[in-house]
Symmetry: D3
Subunit: 331 residues, 6 copies
């Protein structure tokens, strides 16, 4: 399965090729990219930073997403260079690097949010577009806080089985992996009218559950509408909603059917296929993407690593459209 890597010019920001070091060998970094920390001289040249957020303190059901970045790093060493479908070669377009994991605090939620935001303030402040791997979905919130300081309010293409716009939990608890996007709207990080949620499904707590989002103008494409629109129709609608403004892409692996991503905290049957998800992401090429994430990979619930393989591959798909966008902004 390994051939000769004929075109990859050597360079600091190039992945290690499998023709020199087999893919199961060597220290694991995200997509075999160089590991660059803020104090390294190469940090200034990074254009896209791949980051792990090993934290699941916002999880109300099955924990384990804190272990996601480690396993995705491991399995992501199987990723290669060129997207066969789109022809995009992200590592040739932009300087990409693994920036390591953010600091986290497993026993304090608010402290963790602060540590994560501080890390991304450094990343985004250096002009680096972040592509993260979680971690539970609450980690999107501090990432967005950091990005917005550079870009202003964001549109979002959001893949998920759940809207994650609940108000609270157990009464007064406002920060869980079910609430990040209500908080993001309330904080002015997210423009609900430029937000589209794709793949929503599963039973509701109540028939009024979706009301708040509808009132804000969030566009929900639930799984039945997704299948009715088809991949092309969904792409068109998503592009229409987010328009030309700065846009974030958040991919919760539970958007996929659990057979593709059993290693997650809140699986819902009847989801989309990986191929559908790949096609929709590819169809977002040309949007003004400023960052993205893949969240809710929970290795303890899938020791086989298949969920992590899906997560790593979706991260590569997002990287391709993000690199295209970063390159175009750079001119």
């Amino acid at each position: 399965m390994e051939g000769t890597d004929v075109t990859a010019a050597p360079g600091f920001f190039k992945p290690i090729t499998g023709s020199v070091m087999p893919r199961f060998a060597g220290l694991a970094t995200l997509m075999r990219l160089p590991y660059v920390q803020a104090h390294d001289p190469e940090f200034a040249d990074v254009e896209i930073g791949l980051v792990g957020i090993p934290w699941d303190g916002g999880t109300t059901n099955r924990p384990g997403a804190r272990h996601g970045p480690r396993q995705v790093r491991d399995i992501s060493t199987m990723i290669r260079n060129v997207n066969r479908a789109s022809g995009i070669a992200p590592f040739s377009l932009c300087n990409c690097a693994d920036l390591g994991d953010t600091p986290v605090n497993p026993v304090d939620l608010m402290d963790s949010l602060a540590r994560i935001e501080t890390f991304f303030n450094g990343v985004c402040g250096a002009g680096i577009a972040p592509l993260s791997v979680g971690g539970d979905h609450l980690v999107s919130l501090p990432v967005m806080r950091a990005i917005v300081k550079q870009t202003g309010p964001l549109g979002m293409v959001h893949f998920d089985a759940h809207t994650d716009t609940w108000d609270g939990y157990f009464g007064g608890f406002k920060y869980t992996h079910g609430t990040p996007f209500r908080r993001a709207v309330e904080e002015g990080l997210l423009d609900p009218k430029r937000t589209v949620q794709i793949g929503i499904r599963g039973a509701l707590y109540s028939d009024a559950e979706d009301t708040w989002g509808q009132e804000q103008g969030i566009r929900v494409i639930d799984i039945d509408e997704f299948n009715a629109l088809g991949v092309e129709g969904t792409i068109a609608e998503a592009r229409r909603v987010v328009g030309d403004g700065a846009t974030y892409l958040s991919f919760d692996v539970d958007a996929l059917d659990p057979v593709y991503a059993p290693g997650t905290g809140t699986p819902e049957i009847g989801g989309m296929t990986t191929l559908q998800a790949q096609h929709v992401v590819r169809g977002l090429q040309g949007l003004n993407l400023v960052g993205g994430d893949v969240v809710e990979v929970s290795p303890p619930f899938d020791p086989s690593g298949n969920t992590a393989l899906v997560g790593a591959t979706m991260m590569f798909e997002i990287l391709c459209v993000l690199a295209d966008s970063v390159r175009k902004r750079r001119g």
Copy 2:
């Protein structure tokens, strides 16, 4: 993933909400419903009884379905209140309860069939519509025996990879999980002309294998016809076959492709998706449903619990159309 359960009025027959007790906590009952036994005063008010049948003595291949009810109970605590697609809120429509497990005898087949039938005689005699979780497919037979005493012969919508209408096994053995529906026709429980079998596939023992069923007038929609008809065509044909009479819904998880339900005794590749199955079940709303079951969940062959999640969710889908039917009969 847990929001505020705003509309659920408190009441004895309401599931415990995840906003009070997290879904992984508390004793596991089916869908977090109250546990009601025949000697409890609330038994008289139950309209739909969820029942486990922990028995696999009819299994000729891989055993383990005896462990199905326990694991489905566990995972079914993730089920919520309102069907997003159909809008049905079964726990608001009817009084639902977990009636516990039937008695069984792991070392005697005929004794087990008698114990199971006796239990359901009590349930059905009290006017409760049964929704069971097995157990291997032979458990449908004693359930039907009990229902028919109240309703007369049944039509059936039957999801399965196999017709389960073989005559015998090893010569004279008439009761296995491959024979329940031939026995049911012979005993007059099941009207073959009002029976439709969906998803049949896999190699045959002989090319005459399906002859008996055809002669009885059973309508088989094998997996190729299912995909040719599509979900809507299948629904239409199923509704045509069973008509307005009392109808039973039996869902063998091996109707699904084994990737969705690996934890089963006789997997056959090339099956339907969970989303297809959900859509067909939803399309049966309005039938005169009097009971149903989900069978052949075998936890030892899927320690991850994903098969049980599929089983629990399909049980919820069936519950929605059953509750709608029960409510309409009640007027």
Copy 3:
């Protein structure tokens, strides 16, 4: 493996026998005991309350112990009536019941500690001796707070790979599963001079790590001393340390070698065997035991359920000596 249960007199507080309902069948309660809630009339008659504490918010490494009570309930249905070695029949000695799970809050540590303590205030205030299953080791702290209100400061026999007497974490964070017993000493719940820790091992953070405990007078029997003393010597020393006062027994499954309990958060190789642990617990018969717990069973790291089987069986061993103690105090 199931025989006739000849001597068990029927009664409300008796486990369901496997000769009536097979052990894999029926709703799972701890050791098949009746489920009794505070508002039930039988609550007043309970002498020993088995309780689940489904929470792991104090975990700094691998999470999952929140799922412990559910799985231990399931597997504990394999427990029978009479301790072959000691002859103790706990369900004949005392009224035992499953009191269900405590409330918890997965996203707020301090709120969880308060909810757990409140629950146990109700239990202990009713004169019920608690035997809990966690949950991570921090759950012992609120249990002790509730017990101490009835008994005054406790001695403790503590089985663990770790002393759990660190001061803090990440600087100022005082409450983690590595700190409960320093907090308990500071709060006056635990008498360090009547505390013995058995099975301690694994590399240290620093060579001063044990200093605080030694200064308090905690007696540590590390794994090497444990093997040197042998089971009998360890029992004698433990009895000497705790003396006649009110004593708590806390059993962290990581005291055992990970082959016996792989499903735990912080495994350390080179631990004791289950048989050694069983013998030591049996050797504590006659102490003035007022409660106990089994903690750190983390099902996601052992899908096979073997760790839960070990946890359930150790819980039964503790129950035997606790029932003996409760009965003697009752006179």
Copy 4:
């Protein structure tokens, strides 16, 4: 790990060597022996017949032992030629062969017992000493019925966590995997005064549970006495009990601690180690052994195959002492 197999003279009854066909290759037969059926000409020359009994219809708890023979066959291809400890080379002492699996009937207990006995009547009638792999423990009963026709009543060395001498189950059901040896005594197959049970442990149903066996004169060495006597003391006592008469060796893998044999139906913690078991079996060299079995290997509860490896290796240990005995009887 494969060396040159220098001494094995070629011959029909020799295992295929790993130096010609790697151990993971080729069709799996027990210990890579030739497969010989009753109609084959070589059948007349077989001295020890290895047989699978793929049946678990007597199981009252977790099923799956029907899959034992297949997995033990697979893993037994790792067995080599010479017992390092005893120097016994069984394949040089006797003509050994894999006789295949007995017929069984998964849906009828009594029919299965008849089919199994008939098969062994053929084996034992041909003067072949049987060494079986189950299957649940009830399979020992029909094997003993067949042997006894050749030998008269048997003594037995029985390794187990349970005595398997219960009277019945669910009232009148006399044949389960918990009753074979009471039936064997009642039928005159087994001489209770020449029977020793080693490793018994686990909680009792009642304190009178062992009475019947004691009255018959069965010698029980429970796990505590086993550890007190030590391997040598146990061997001496076992030899004293069974004496010089025809003796059967029955090895239930649940005699071992579950960490060695998790893949079994009724695990009990606190069992013996494989090394202890190997030593005791080796210490039985010189007894008048006429057959043996390894039972209760249940692959669905141990997908890793480690339990099967333990079963296959214990089968080899038994084969060594059985071959020594057969050879000596042959003269």
Copy 5:
């Protein structure tokens, strides 16, 4: 699930029926066929030989396919007689047998290729059409070398995620599981203009990666074109490409989405479904098929055996069209 096998006339080359020996019982041969070796008299009558090739020495990533034949043999005992969709009953059309495993050498690649080719020279030289199960994809090369001596250059229908036409690895290493078909073209075994590759996907090493194959005239239907053409369009194009000449069918299980075949060395998400693959294979009926293989089943990465079930069933689908072709050539 087992019925009466009414039409199967008894005969040497018939599979053992599940109505006589349950499918989990008995020694495992491929599809329960008789095991026939070159020195057996029945060898001369075999028309289609099922063969295992237990070798993965060409694997550059995750090993384990050496264990494929053993596990496929085991699970293939679930295969029955008649293809429901096509009506083909292969065991009635042709004499089929399990020819066992080829010799292999786990520590020497070139020696293994020679041993495998020698084995197939014997098979093909006897006029037997081979249907193999690997092993990694390099095993197709020695099989083709043996077939071509009888048939001349082959066309091929090749299902795979990868083209396996790389030139070399690590510089000068020409033989890996990524290079067999470039070698086959260079050696004149494979006619590139009669070769079609279906299901190709995954990221590329470089954008020139596919150039060589295109220059040779190999027709690649990547996964996107496959879905665009649909099953029928793909069948038509495949039939057009390979025409009437002697044709080989090679099925790498990684052509399927990893949810269907996780147990493989180089999984790529976004693949075809088993049902699609079954339909395409059935659509090849009438081609001039002379042999086939199923490769890259790697049991260590799927202990559940589901991948092996898929492999065995695809092997049965290929057998059906191969038997039809062999029967037609026989006249």
Copy 6:
């Protein structure tokens, strides 16, 4: 479980502490040490180099050890600073670093041996003592070749179930994981009279299998002698055999009972415990150790990672005695 790391002075060669970055977070290096490559300026200051050798091309049975270094790196992040039993703090005694993985070639055995040796020539030539993690046992050979250039012939303490001194395989194949130490003796790398092998067990191919080693003067302490001597006696004998000369320590995880290390290629039941192994290694403090390895960790056969935890912890135990030795030689 995480306390304050009070004594660890900051410094380049110190592990990252769990009080700053949780143990599940951050890129995985061996024991959280800095990653240092030959071209880094810090390379000159390294005293002990931890190295992965991701290769299993010498494996004749179950492959997968090529994945060992990656998983041991991951799990080794749980290792802390100070050996509780011996008081040794290796990271304070010596500059330790993770030197990464050696180059390997998965498809060519001899090329791999050359690449590995070249790597270690660089390490040993720089005066760094190597501590490796494999990989199959053949990897010890090129490591020893490199060490011997600095030290002259080595003594060895070798933990294993097998002697690994076979002559060849399949006739002329001299290099497999069963032959490294015969090759090492023949090449003059290993002084057989200063070699002790501990834990040897399992059936033999022939009763002459051990002859060659005995003739060379290798001291074998098989598992029975090991248990007879006890830990102290074994230590004394090992120290006597290897004396004061330069000594290598090779630890094959199959020396342990498979319950401790199921993830290995050739498991043999009846092995030593981890605690015994830890004690023996600790007892080697003071020998003139010049390097060591831990081999045969095969993750695909233990997805739980427990074998890797054992491997990492044994590596830490070896590191402690090696650091003590390196420090003493440094003076």
